[in-house]
Symmetry: C2
Subunit: 143 residues, 2 copies
């Protein structure tokens, strides 16, 4: 695992939409856009059901999480972060996590997920970062 | 292949940053953020060198291209588009493509790529769409 540097905490704390790539049973890629948080140096995202990405992570833990940055580099290209990691799925706590993230992604007074979904325990995908890539201070020249 | 509907042309024409997922030799996912265009119903992106994504596409054509939309759905979630497709790499024309896209992504008067990179023929990844996913008019309820 790799410890997330302060500028990654800063970026993720700002509420960027994250593209979560998992692997289907046939090895092809699957992408969903998710809200993302950090817990104990893992990236976390919540799901109220066993969606395809949850099934995929249970079969193959290799994932990427990618998101746009907020600055441009010297060539004028927008920075972006890619986190390569290994994921696992835990049960429960998804509604609380989504409610915490909804305040960042939707607004401070939002109630999310709505009833009756928030009564379900749901699932959390926990991604342990192994390598950072993209364009930005987290990676000098990786493509 | 699938024909791209008008709202996909509209979204891509607006210059969204696209997350291109390819597959490494060990089957793990690789993500780069790229500028994207449409040519003959294929998605196209240009590269001035044989980056990892170019090597990956030559080995395994299965890719995803994902990008954020501009509207929110009834639940207040931001729309996003995922294009599942098969990619191939052609040689040449990358500087012209990047120059065309730079006018959309960077500004109408921008010269990109700069000298001496623009003299290189470069490579174009051409992605034939097979299936659309995400959240938006392109996909009713896919995760």
């Amino acid at each position: 695992m790799t410890t997330l540097p302060p500028f990654v905490h800063e970026l993720i704390g700002s509420g960027p939409y994250a593209h979560l790539t998992t692997l289907n049973a046939d090895g092809s890629p699957q992408v969903s856009v998710v809200w993302i948080g950090i817990e104990d140096d893992d990236l976390v995202c919540g799901h109220m059901g066993v969606w395809q990405k949850v099934k995929n992570v249970r079969r193959d833990p290799r994932v990427c999480v990618s998101m746009l940055g907020q600055k441009k580099n010297a060539m004028g290209l927008l920075e972006y972060l890619v986190v390569h990691g290994r994921a696992r799925v835990t049960e429960g706590g998804a509604a609380d996590l989504l409610q915490r993230l909804a305040r960042i992604y939707m607004g401070p007074d939002v109630v999310f997920p709505p009833e009756p979904y928030r009564r379900s325990p749901g699932y959390i995908t926990r991604i342990t970062p192994e390598r950072l890539g993209g364009v930005g201070p987290w990676s000098p020249a990786q493509r």
